[in-house]
Assembly symmetry: C2
């Protein structure tokens, strides 16, 4: 058994692929829990609530408290609470972001705001994008949940929140602060809330440029699993290496 206290797992590509669980990860979570350790789940997904994510992985036989599921929407709501208390917020996003802001009693407006926060919004329209641009041109802080270029739906790779954020950045000339991986906000939140030391934490994921870099940026150990976006051989070409390269999380069930 390894000595970490906070195992932070990516979801898509690490714990599941779309709707299909990755058995080795499910087994690893059970193994941790049987040893009294409750892992964390760290996802750039801003569209789903903690409860929806909890229910999704429960169907895959992973049963965890909602507090152990950290999304880029949760990070955004925490960031706004800390840095912009009582400021008016214009949101572009879905239920996941909406719910996270509401839980922090964030004051939302549909007019020109002090803060613009963007997550994926499949009900996007010209009016919303205009209000975001006008607010930012008037000086609003500009926060985005994540910089993902695209994500898969049933038709193929459709535009991600990073693409919509880029639209607003290009139009206004103002760069956003991103909350999701590869930024370390979600890991910092876990560290601060539960008081872990950095050497007690590890970030585990399939995607080098999000998961592994997040851990590296945070200064904690990292483990790459060969179950998703990047193959082990690709990762081994990188200048900054993860602490571990695993074929699967079965490698750690001893």
């Amino acid at each position: 058994m390894l000595n970490y206290k906070a195992y932070c797992l990516d979801l898509d590509g690490t714990v599941y692929r779309g709707k299909t669980p990755i058995k080795e990860a499910v087994d690893f979570v059970h193994y941790l829990q049987s040893n009294g350790i409750e892992p964390f789940f760290v996802t750039n997904n801003s569209s789903m609530t903690q409860k929806q994510l909890q229910e999704k992985i429960a169907k895959m036989d992973i049963h965890v408290e909602v507090d152990h599921i950290i999304s880029s929407s949760i990070a955004a709501a925490n960031y706004i609470e800390e840095h912009f208390p009582k400021k008016s917020v214009f949101m572009i996003g879905e239920i996941g972001l909406q719910d996270a802001l509401a839980a922090k009693q964030v004051v939302r407006t549909e007019a020109i705001a002090d803060v613009v926060v963007m997550g994926i919004d499949r009900a996007i329209n010209y009016e919303k994008l205009s209000t975001a641009c006008l607010s930012i041109r008037a000086g609003a802080a500009f926060i985005s949940t994540n910089s993902d270029h695209a994500f898969p739906d049933e038709r193929g790779l459709v535009p991600g929140n990073g693409a919509f954020t880029k639209l607003v950045e290009y139009s206004t000339g103002v760069e956003p602060i991103y909350m999701g991986k590869p930024e370390a906000f979600m890991l910092e939140f876990i560290q601060e809330k539960y008081g872990y030391k950095k050497e007690e934490m590890i970030m585990i994921g399939d995607n080098y440029s999000t998961d592994i870099l997040t851990g590296i940026h945070m200064g904690i150990h990292t483990a790459h699993v060969n179950s998703g976006v990047n193959r082990t051989e690709e990762v081994q070409m990188k200048l900054s290496q993860p602490t571990y390269c695993l074929e699967s999380l079965h490698d750690w069930i001893k």
Copy 2:
């Protein structure tokens, strides 16, 4: 009287500001016409039809044939007719682009297409942007009317077609071909259709990075007017200078 045969005037900032005519430009057009010269109007605006633009300037007492009004939508339709005959086209855009494509009997589809063409579309939605991205990822040619970051509406500077194009570029990793200024397609179209020599043509406008650079890219003479985006002093700082810097087009009415 100058010796050019094709006077190509920008519209917004040169002939009018929003709904207000610029008197010196109106006088100059009348002066040209009284000398038997019909000027051309060259605009990045893709949302209005030639007829709508004709009617708009008619209210300002400028009366010209529709054929002398060239928009980025007209350039896009010409380009598609020439390079992609009989190919299926997915369009994001408004009446100006729609009308220009229809005039060339372009075959439009709402499904995955061979060609994606984007102009400003204030009825934009996620579905349209997804179809554009999916088509381009499947190999479609990617054409955009113009790269404008923003344009003014009654509320301020709202996102332009360049920002939406950037979204699709960022998501797919594929760069578009732009039809509008500072690319020279619109001027090339005038040259080819009417058989002008380059030394017979001049591009006149207020915006250095669109109007003046278009003329420079085309290899024709250019005149900057001090009535819009860039002041004369700014233009005089540029490495590539316009042929003339005018305070207004009254300078040329002799």
